[in-house]
């Protein structure tokens, strides 16, 4: 589904906007960036607690249009700047990776 539509549907608090042309097909949940870069599918939403600039680098390289930072992690300014530059969305949530994963799964399967 369209990334913007997805963000609205999950009621995400975006701190960096999503690319309105991007598509979200699935999700990937990991706090290990090496694992994410090896395994995160293209067009997935990346669910993590890693709130720093390197997460944006990984997202750019694997083709992830949206990062969700869980457990109230706050994206630092340099991360937001990098994300805007690379047209990658960042959302912050108080939910855990587990909770947000369920939500993401529900929304993606409902609309299929």
């Amino acid at each position: 589904m369209n990334a913007l539509e997805f963000a609205t549907e999950v009621r995400l608090h975006l701190v960096a906007g999503v690319d309105s042309l991007a598509i979200i097909e699935t999700g990937y949940c990991s706090d290990l960036l090496s694992d994410a870069i090896a395994n995160a599918p293209v067009n997935s939403v990346f669910i993590t607690v890693q709130a720093h600039k390197n997460t944006v680098a990984v997202a750019t390289l694997v083709g992830v249009p949206l990062i969700i930072l869980c457990n109230n992690r706050i994206a630092p300014l340099d991360m937001i700047d990098a994300a805007i530059d690379k047209k990658i969305g960042i959302a912050q949530t108080e939910k855990s990776q587990f909770e947000i994963s369920i939500l993401v799964h529900t929304i993606l399967t409902q609309t299929r």
Partner: protein
């Protein structure tokens, strides 16, 4: 190239940023630290502060740091009339210390994050080896900038590359977390422009990112190069140390020598080299302890240009 966002940043600002990553805390810190012992009275510490014009003094025993006393603690002691008490009853024990080997960029982030005026610095053995203040950082940066200005006035700037070159070379600095990944992003942009298959681009991007992160995380700094011929792409990571004692162990999934703060950033899971090996068509590693490591990852471009992951 779309990757031109930094072009309006002045050369001096870029240089300062580079210096922050290149310099270690130990390069910059003040080494002769005035300390007090836990059995001293707050009055003694107050006199130390006055005499040496300090706003905070670490409390140590046998060179191990136990706490810190700041001007605020002294003022409180004067207000509430316990200035003759022993230090150990009133020192702040919740401290954040920097490690000698941390890049200065980390130290700057700590100053922002914690709002303290100074951080004690500990050696790899856990002993107090210095103290770092904002003033130390400023002084070091000023020195670096003026030395660079002198160097620039006597030589030509290096690394001028044409956007369509088939060879690129990137310097990677130790612990430069916030710039690590830039080389791979640029490589990916070149490949996208060359219209290679998305699967192949991703494999190359993964390989180059892991090699780039390895240089930043594990080497003393090095160089990542990218070259493209009509049939293959080579990504080569070279560094000048410290070398890998057991190469086959280093290529085993799950083996890692990363320290805790590397791990806290989501790296150092022991997946780097195995990932590079998995995504590349040819993988070669040569390492000599103390001298350095060269890793080559080669990716073939299929005639029909259809990469798959």
């Amino acid at each position: 190239m779309p990757n031109e966002s930094g072009k309006n940043i002045s050369t001096a600002a870029l240089f300062t940023q580079e210096a922050l990553f290149r310099l270690r805390v130990s390069d910059v810190m003040t080494r002769n630290v005035v300390t007090a012992s836990p059995s001293d009275t707050l009055r003694v510490v107050q006199n130390f502060m006055k005499k040496n014009r300090l706003s905070g003094i670490p409390i140590t025993l046998d060179n191990r740091i136990l706490g810190i006393i700041s001007v605020d603690d002294i003022i409180r002691a004067l207000d509430f009339n316990y200035i003759e008490d022993r230090v150990e009853a009133h020192m702040s024990r919740n401290m954040v210390a920097l490690e000698e080997t941390m890049p200065l960029s980390f130290a700057v982030a700590y100053f922002e994050k914690f709002g303290f005026g100074r951080f004690p610095v500990i050696s790899p053995e856990g002993l107090l080896s210095g103290i770092l203040t904002g003033g130390d950082i400023l002084r070091a940066l000023l020195q670096e900038v003026s030395a660079e200005a002198e160097r620039l006035s006597s030589s030509q700037p290096h690394s001028i590359v044409s956007p369509r070159a088939l060879y690129r070379s990137f310097e990677v600095y130790k612990y430069d977390f916030s710039n690590a990944g830039k080389a791979s992003q640029e490589i990916k942009a070149i490949l996208t422009e060359a219209q290679l298959a998305p699967g192949l681009i991703r494999r190359i991007a993964v390989g180059s990112y892991e090699l780039e992160m390895n240089l930043a995380l594990h080497s003393d700094g090095g160089n990542l190069s990218f070259s493209m011929s009509p049939s293959a792409i080579d990504i080569i990571a070279r560094d000048n140390g410290p070398g890998i004692p057991d190469v086959s162990l280093a290529c085993t999934e799950g083996f890692s020598t990363a320290n805790d703060w590397i791990k806290s950033m989501g790296f150092g899971a022991g997946m780097g080299l195995p990932n590079v090996k998995r995504v590349s068509d040819e993988f070669d590693i040569a390492s000599i302890v103390k001298l350095g490591t060269i890793i080559t990852a080669r990716f073939f471009i299929p005639p029909e240009n259809k990469g798959s992951l």
